[in-house]
Symmetry: C2
Subunit: 444 residues, 2 copies
């Protein structure tokens, strides 16, 4: 394990009140997989430290993608300009019947390349063939919170197999992998299936990652069918009694927010705005969630709706959209948006005590963002730059768990050319659609 | 003048019905400042052609920014999270009292770097000290449509001076510069001033670039004060009788669209969605404008609201926002969004006969976009890639008027290090605000 000094960066850190602020000209000392010190630059580095020059770089916690289906990058661009029902029934679920273990492995590698290149160091992934996903994460060196997605129609035996995955990989990859149960959604899993998911989670000491109240039509359908909102269903079935990541909450009613606030120490909302805009799903009510002190984090969702895995874009869209929808440009100011992108996302994963801050004792997941580009100049306001000017391509260097995975945009732990070639090899077969072969039907 | 063959690119071209489509594996032949042929690759290049390899590149018309205040990059990040009245009165107009000829020159150079690096080859710029702007454009080699912004409070003498600029630079830089009159807006210019602007425009055979109906509050204020919408004022004062670029039209009423449709052969709307979201101004009613066949083009506005000059971002936000606001994911499909970004923007500038298409006879303003990045893979759908995955940093090579200005991301006509240093030198002075020194007061 190397020890590293990131020299002379500007660091995004919470001030005494917890508000994200820029500390200029800092050195960050990393020992093993932890940050041990932040201090003004100038002091000679201890002799056992590898020095990584970070002049004109902005250091921030590695970005956390709180809800994704990473291997869906395999289907990027195959479902454009369609409503959500068709998106599921005519495109996604037919396409996903083409998946194989091997394709998922290479899709995950491709997604990891895109995420590392864009400064994403942790992802909460919710997909299929998750042993392959975990294997890719283990090899590449990022952090991940993994759940094997499952529909109620697959039955309790399938649910057990996903629990076995969660048990197998819990604490895997030297602690970089955590796991959870991942029943798909209340509209695809009946109450018994959800209760059984909770039982598995409790038995394994893990949480649940689930879609719920994705958009208002789902909430309305749930109210009509059974007189309960999807969030009430989660409460009623015990899901909210364990740690939960809820995607996407665009269909939250005020009473749902009230209900969620009772569980806010272990329940959070993953917000993936680009998907919501593209599929016209409405928006997560972020100001209400924040007022209720329910954790909100950033996400990309899968690349067939997003169409990228760019968390900087999610951050920007979140802030812009909240201003637009509230007709109030003072909503979600810089400091609050950056707080959501860092501490907020860490809290959604239940890792707020070890991720999402550059502070002694925190895990050394750090990215260096180059601020020298023309689109950042002149640097009157680096926080505004991060929110409104930064591009994924500005990320220069990525460290996870104390290990450098990308340096000066060179990937150190992944063979990009090979991955692109393997993905290309699967591309044509994966693009075939056989509508009757869909893996599930959307009917909320 | 060199002649160039862009070899083996995928080209974004209108199909027989005018719908943007991808023609794969094309060679583009450029002679002088014109495109002379597009043809399937394979034919040996004529001996007088310089061959520029474009394998795995997507060629498209250079992006057109139909409304900007480019030198405002100097103030980037200085006015965040504020409503439009404070944005003008407490920030922008005080800050702009710090401008000098020299600062504008370097600000324009900085903005040109950002635009070239992001594939923008033409800008309709609306600002001050425009001789400096024109000088920078002349030196750097891009195309520009320039108007010297002026408030009615400055008087008719000042208007005359802006007309003298328009006359001086009309057809300048070997035809790359066109000019226009640029009275600021109906709410800052009285009717006599607007009529005088029209007279100058007619005398010089040019058009007008003006802000109008920027947001609904302006329209309401105009109706209350004088019983006319801002668009009616433009009609009443003769502005709509000459070629006009209108920014931003978020306050257009249905009767305004009806009125504008009568002038659609020479009137267009510049759409700068990031500004609208950040300042919560509402949105331009694009579907209604398109139904009325009024040209709509993409814009960034200035970098104090945007905060970049990234037209790819404008394109993406336009499509996403129209879907969101209409609650309909089928609104503004790929083909229509790409049509706006190319032929639409050219039409807004009144240059639809020579810009906005890769076709024989059109001006050789061409960009090559690298599609090999992980965020484009696998390449199932290049059109979707352009709209939803492309980043400004994917632009590899930029040609304007037949001349290569950037090749493999190396700028050939501008000294980037010098520009950044000069901008940095002005930075502190420009950031000072003396509220009483503001150049104008916002009171629509």
């Amino acid at each position: 394990m190397t020890n590293t000094l990131l020299r002379n960066c500007h660091a995004l850190v919470p001030d005494a009140r917890g508000v994200p602020t820029i500390a200029r000209n800092q050195d960050i000392v990393v020992r093993g997989n932890r940050i041990v010190a932040l201090r003004p630059t100038g002091q000679p580095p201890e002799p056992d430290l590898d020095v990584l020059e970070a002049h004109q770089m902005l250091a921030m916690p590695g970005l956390i993608n709180t809800h994704a289906h990473v291997p869906m990058v395999l289907f990027r661009g195959l479902a454009e300009d369609v409503p959500i029902e068709r998106w599921f029934n005519d495109f996604i679920w037919p396409l996903e019947s083409n998946l194989t273990e091997e394709a998922v492995y290479w899709g995950m590698q491709l997604g990891l390349i895109e995420m590392i290149e864009g400064g994403v160091t942790t992802v909460a992934d919710h997909y299929f063939f998750m042993d392959q996903v975990a294997r890719a994460v283990e090899e590449v060196g990022t952090r991940a919170h993994l759940g094997w997605a499952v529909f109620g129609s697959r039955g309790l035996k399938a649910l057990e197999e996903t629990a076995a995955f969660a048990e197998r990989w819990k604490g895997g990859a030297g602690g970089r992998i955590t796991t959870c149960m991942a029943p798909h959604a209340p509209y695809t899993c009946d109450d018994g299936f959800l209760r059984a998911s909770v039982e598995h989670a409790k038995r394994l000491g893990i949480g649940i990652h689930i879609h719920a109240a994705e958009e208002m039509n789902q909430t309305r359908a749930s109210l009509e069918r059974r007189g309960m909102t999807p969030i009430q269903v989660l409460d009623d079935t015990g899901v909210l009694s364990v740690p939960v990541i809820i995607a996407h909450g665009c269909g939250l009613l005020p009473e749902d927010t009230e209900r969620l606030s009772r569980y806010r120490d272990h329940v959070g909302i993953a917000h993936a705005p680009k998907t919501y805009l593209k599929l016209a799903m409405g928006l997560t009510p972020i100001p209400a969630l924040r007022r209720a002190r329910i954790p909100v984090g950033l996400a990309t969702d899968g690349a067939v709706s997003n169409n990228t895995l760019d968390v900087f874009e999610s951050l920007r869209l979140m802030a812009l959209m909240q201003k637009h929808d509230a007709s109030d440009p003072e909503v979600l100011p810089l400091s609050e948006a950056l707080d959501i992108a860092t501490r907020g996302s860490a809290a959604v994963l239940g890792m707020g005590d070890r991720l999402g801050q550059l502070a002694p004792g925190y895990l050394a997941d750090i990215i260096l963002v180059d601020t020298s580009g023309a689109h950042w100049q002149p640097p009157h306001n680096l926080a505004a730059g991060l929110l409104y000017s930064a591009r994924a391509s500005d990320v220069q260097t990525v460290m996870v768990d104390g290990r450098v995975l990308m340096r000066d945009r060179r990937l150190l732990t992944i063979d990009k050319a090979r991955v692109l070639a393997e993905v290309a090899r699967h591309m044509e077969r994966l693009a075939q659609r056989v509508p009757n072969a869909r893996i599930q039907t959307y009917k909320p």
